[in-house]
């Protein structure tokens, strides 16, 4: 691993700024694309930032009977996303924090955020909060095996689960990126990411019907700045997951050395990759309806099989 350099620190700061600053824009872009596909004009891609600014100015409410868990959960949710944004190789592989956490730790951190939110949902003691928490944890429990098996498949050719190592090895050996292992693992991971970020067909982020909610049901009690944090965090989660997907499978463009133009290219490449993935996701969602909750396990089981196939392929094709 590179010694923590000035550029490593710069990379960390840049990654944080990009993820915080651009993730609401990503959501805005996806909503805008969807609006266009539906024949609407759309509110423009800066609308999520307007929403956040407004929410920050609104009054905070604390529902009666809730404990500290309810108040800390949004902070923790944002904090996990921030840590992942700082640790993972998005702009540069020479992040100063790379030895701190690997792919497992990153995934577990993101799960921690979800758990905090699920506990907050239960803490309110409302029926919808409990329902959302129950559904979300069920999905997490089922997502975990696929996630880890996909990570397994990715790390076998590299011999490490460290994020920078996986990304660098993809850069060094482009053939690896187009191998069946990579493709199978990518498909498995895409399904998992859709489930983890609560997109269609697992969860409908714009539903108004409580009975169909998963993520939304947990946050029904939040308002004002707390809600702003939850919204920002869910945007950051999506960005972080898409960024991971992009850099694990299409690593080109990421800065491997420290100089201003290289890092600039890294920033540009990251933004473009995440934007393209987000656009693909938004367009794909137009064609999908939400699955029934009890059909979701079938989807996840399918992606698990793909993950297993990827591992098998990584051994037999090695």
């Amino acid at each position: 691993m590179n010694a923590p350099s000035v550029y490593g620190t710069v990379g960390v700061v840049l990654q944080l700024l990009i993820v915080i600053g651009l993730s609401p824009l990503l959501i805005g872009m996806m909503r805008q694309l969807r609006a266009r596909a539906e024949g609407r004009a759309g509110p423009g891609i800066t609308q999520p930032w307007r929403d956040l600014r407004k929410l920050m100015r609104k009054q905070r409410t604390s529902p009666r009977g809730t404990s500290e868990v309810f108040r800390v959960a949004p902070l923790l949710l944002v904090a996990t996303c921030l840590v992942v944004a700082a640790v993972a190789p998005f702009v540069t592989t020479a992040s100063a924090l790379d030895p701190v956490a690997d792919l497992f730790a990153v995934v577990a951190l993101l799960t921690l955020g979800t758990v905090a939110l699920a506990l907050a949902g239960l803490d309110t003691g409302t029926a919808f909060g409990g329902m959302g928490a129950s559904r979300e944890t069920t999905i997490i429990a089922l997502v975990e095996p696929t996630m880890l098996v996909a990570i397994f498949a990715l790390s076998v050719p590299v011999g490490s689960t460290n994020l920078a190592a996986i990304v660098t090895s993809g850069l060094d050996d482009p053939a690896q990126v187009f191998s069946p292992v990579s493709l199978l693992a990518a498909v498995a991971l895409i399904v998992v990411i859709i489930a983890e970020t609560g997109r269609l067909p697992v969860d409908n982020p714009s539903t108004h019907l409580e009975l169909t909610m998963v993520h939304e049901a947990m946050v029904l009690e939040y308002s004002g700045p707390d809600l702003a944090m939850v919204e920002l965090a869910s945007a950051m989660r999506l960005t972080v997951f898409l960024g991971l997907l992009a850099n694990l499978f299409v690593p080109w463009g990421i800065a491997t050395s420290g100089s201003v133009p290289v890092i600039a290219i890294g920033v540009l490449a990251f933004v473009v990759k995440v934007a393209v993935l987000g656009a693909a996701l938004a367009v794909g969602e137009v064609f999908l309806a939400k699955l029934r909750l009890f059909r979701v396990p079938e989807l996840l089981a399918g992606s698990f099989v793909l993950g297993l196939l990827a591992v098998a392929a990584s051994f037999f094709l090695a």
């Binding site: 009054q59 905070r60 409410t61 604390s62 529902p63 009666r64 404990s67 868990v69 902070l75 923790l76 944002v78 904090a79 996990t80 921030l82 700082a86 030895p99 701190v100 956490a101 690997d102 497992f104 577990a108 951190l109 799960t111 921690l112 758990v115 506990l119 239960l122 803490d123 003691g125 409302t126 029926a127 909060g129 409990g130 329902m131 928490a133 129950s134 559904r135 069920t138 997490i140 429990a141 089922l142 975990e144 095996p145 996630m147 880890l148 098996v149 397994f152 689960t161 460290n162 190592a165 004002g224 944090m229 909750l293 396990p297 698990f304 297993l308 591992v311 051994f315 037999f316 090695a318």
Partner: protein, 692 residues
């Protein structure tokens, strides 16, 4: 806690050290035995008000002694004690090596926390002479099992442990009828396990010069593979049943919840470990490794137990039973590590084997810490509310904030999420499994499935503990008892505090204990240190991979503080307003509208219906005047243990049939009994004539 120097001393022969004087191991063990016996004696002599305090403190001192002795043994000190004439066969022999030291230290640590906890917990009902006398004896027996160095000593301590724990499980049999049934299951299964171990070890001893481990080790190298496998399998049955491994787990979810909570903590955090100790001792040490398929079997059993245990826990609603199932799960994870270590040893990947073994040992330590804490907090809840059913709990954060915090820390540690303790050990285990892929074709199939099993277990553990914590402690109280819950006495909180501190320490600074544990694991499988540790970061020795729990937590805290500061700075100055819960405008929400543990687990139950096969029925009572109006709906759900139903019930049925048949032989006529005696004597004589 010992740090790096331990590694240098480990390899040195004992002769290098001064033989005179008492070393730390001996001193610690002597303290443990003395205080253990003294508190057992004190329990008999001291009158009731002070009894539980004296015994509790005695157990804590005894545990501290064992902890010191165990840690000293782990870093390389040895101690042995022999009294050849005290018992037949090879007499009483004790010797502590690093492996035994690890288990001794874990038991000691658990004893310290539960001893102090027991001071307050045992007041009111559990401070009778018998229970208070058995408690230190049980702790002592658990400490002597890993210290034993001959078959006779081992079996003696093992049986002492089984008997004392049985009496402790039965402590509350007058209050609840279920205790008796649980005790029956436990008595039968633990003794069947003992019989299995006895048979296995006796076959082993018959092929050695005597019953000491040294002799067995020597004999183990020359055993035929078939005989070695037989010994391993037969002892595996006994040890696995002690560790609560599926399908021999049936006693565990019965006995652990029905025992008093301090006993549950001791059993779940310390006693089950000794099953793993037995497997490692016999498999690795005495039999010297063995064939790959042994360990494949161990790994498969471990994976099965992990998934099955946590699935039952995820669906269950009884707080203590859920923790019992989680013990099965965690022992399963440990056995996955042990099995993987054995597989890698058989295929010659010693570094990997060391890594897997270190993961297993670290998980044992972590599990001991968080399971002690969880059972103690569950005990505190039962103490305050008298209820174990999560469906009737909730809202405890108001009445018992400290217990809630303690359970929260335990739940985080148990659910394999950073910054929790189990995350570190499961991370190590996953690293071992992932890097084990090139080990061979069987590994290609086994390792991904093992990873998937561990991952599914981790996922379901998250669901389980979100349920236990979220439904049991947060939200609003679902019963009057939960509403009027009060905090437990200070001694119980102190015990919980100790266990919580251990959980936090293990989660943030595994770098302090990992070198020692790595050295012990390396010693067991014969490899070098599997992990390299700097002040904050754990790195794998031969593979690229690192993790820094401390820095990760620091980063998380920085993120948290930064978010809070940003939110404070950017957000409105408007004062927060307390508001009623959003009830869709329909009037206040009552506690009966909350999600319960049953409803929380319902999606999981439906997803895993093929495995769990819950029995549910819904009774709808209609109004008298119209069938269209519903008066009441009753929902019943029972989750029978399927393995138990398939495996145990047929056996029990056959036993019952035999019993009925056998009863005909005993009609009560003395003449007939005399006749039986006469005919058997004749048969024996004929047999002798024929064979000689």
């Amino acid at each position: 806690m010992p740090a790096a120097p331990g590694r240098d001393r480990r390899g040195a022969p004992p002769a290098d050290r001064p033989v005179t004087g008492v070393n730390t191991v001996q001193a610690g063990l002597l303290t443990a035995v003395t205080f253990g016996l003294l508190s057992a004696l004190a329990a008999l002599l001291i009158a009731r008000p002070a009894r539980s305090a004296v015994v509790g403190v005695g157990i804590a001192v005894c545990g501290a002694g064992a902890l010191v002795a165990g840690v000293a043994a782990m870093v390389g000190q040895v101690a042995s004690f022999a009294a050849p004439d005290l018992l037949p066969l090879s007499g009483v022999v004790f010797a502590i090596d690093p492996l035994g030291g690890a288990f001794l230290a874990v038991t000691g640590g658990v004893a310290v926390a539960t001893g102090i906890y027991g001071v307050g917990y045992c007041r009111g009902g559990l401070d009778g002479r018998l229970v208070q006398c058995m408690l230190p004896l049980f702790v002592l027996a658990m400490m002597l099992v890993p210290a034993a160095a001959s078959i006779g000593t081992f079996l003696l301590c093992w049986e002492l442990m089984a008997l004392t724990s049985l009496l402790l499980v039965l402590a509350e049999h007058r209050r609840r009828p279920e205790v008796a049934s649980a005790g029956r299951w436990y008595a039968v299964m633990t003794h069947l396990g003992l019989v299995a171990i006895l048979i296995g070890l006796l076959i082993f001893a018959a092929n050695a010069t005597d019953g000491t481990y040294a002799a067995l080790r020597l004999a183990g190298q020359h055993l035929s593979p078939g005989l070695a496998a037989l010994i391993f399998l037969v002892t595996l049955i006994g040890f696995a049943s002690k560790a609560g491994i599926v399908p021999l787990h049936a006693w565990l979810p019965r006995a652990h919840p029905e025992a008093p909570s301090n006993v549950s903590a001791l059993m779940s955090a310390a006693m089950v470990n000794l099953g793993v100790y037995g497997i490692v001792r016999v498999g690795f040490d005495l039999l010297g490794g063995g064939a790959a398929w042994w360990w494949l079997l161990v790994l498969a059993l471990g994976a099965l137990s992990a998934v099955y245990g946590i699935l039952q826990a995820a669906i269950g609603t009884d707080l203590k039973r859920l923790l019992g199932h989680s013990t099965t799960e965690n022992m399963g994870i440990v056995l996955v590590g042990v099995g993987a270590a054995g597989l890698f040893t058989a295929s010659g990947d010693l570094t990997l084997a060391g890594l897997a073994m270190a993961a297993a040992l670290l998980h044992i330590v972590n599990h001991a810490a968080f399971k002690t804490l969880l059972f103690q907090s569950a005990g505190s809840v039962v103490h305050a509310t008298g209820r174990r059913d999560l469906d009737y709990l909730g809202g405890l954060h108001d009445g018992m904030p400290r217990t809630t915090a303690a359970f929260g820390i335990g739940a985080l540690s148990a659910s394999a999420l950073p910054p929790g303790a189990a995350f570190v050990s499961e991370w190590l285990l996953l690293q071992a499994l992932i890097h084990g892929l090139p080990a061979g074709v069987s590994a290609t199939i086994v390792m991904p499935l093992a990873v998937a099993a561990v991952a599914l277990t981790a996922g379901l553990a998250v669901a389980t503990f979100v349920k236990a914590f979220g439904v049991g402690f947060l939200a609003r109280p679902r019963s009057r008892e939960a509403e009027s819950a009060h905090e437990s006495p200070p001694s119980m909180l102190a015990g919980m505090g100790l266990a919580a501190a251990a959980c936090i320490g293990l989660a943030l600074l595994p770098t302090l204990v990992l070198p020692t544990i790595g050295a012990v694991a390396g010693g067991v499988v014969g490899s070098g240190d599997p992990v390299t540790v700097t002040a904050t970061t754990i790195a794998l020795t031969d593979f690229a991979g690192s993790l820094s729990p401390l820095l990760l937590t620091v980063a998380l805290v920085i993120g948290l503080v930064a978010t809070l500061a940003a939110a404070r700075a950017l957000a409105t100055r408007r004062a927060a307003r307390e508001a009623r819960l959003w009830d869709c405008g329909a009037g206040p929400l009552s506690a009966r509208m909350e999600y319960t543990a049953t409803s929380f687990a319902e999606p999981l139950q439906r997803v895993f219906d093929d495995v769990v096969q819950a029995e549910q029925d819904v009774d709808v009572t209609h109004h008298r005047e119209s069938a269209y109006l519903v008066e009441a709906i009753e929902y019943h759900r029972r989750v029978p243990d399927r393995i138990e139903r398939r495996l145990y019930e047929p056996v029990l049925a056959v036993m019952a049939v035999w019993g009925r048949v056998g009863r005909r032989l005993a009609p009560g006529s003395v003449h007939r009994y005399l006749g039986y005696g006469f005919y058997s004597l004749c048969a024996l004589l004929i047999l002798l004539v024929v064979t000689r």
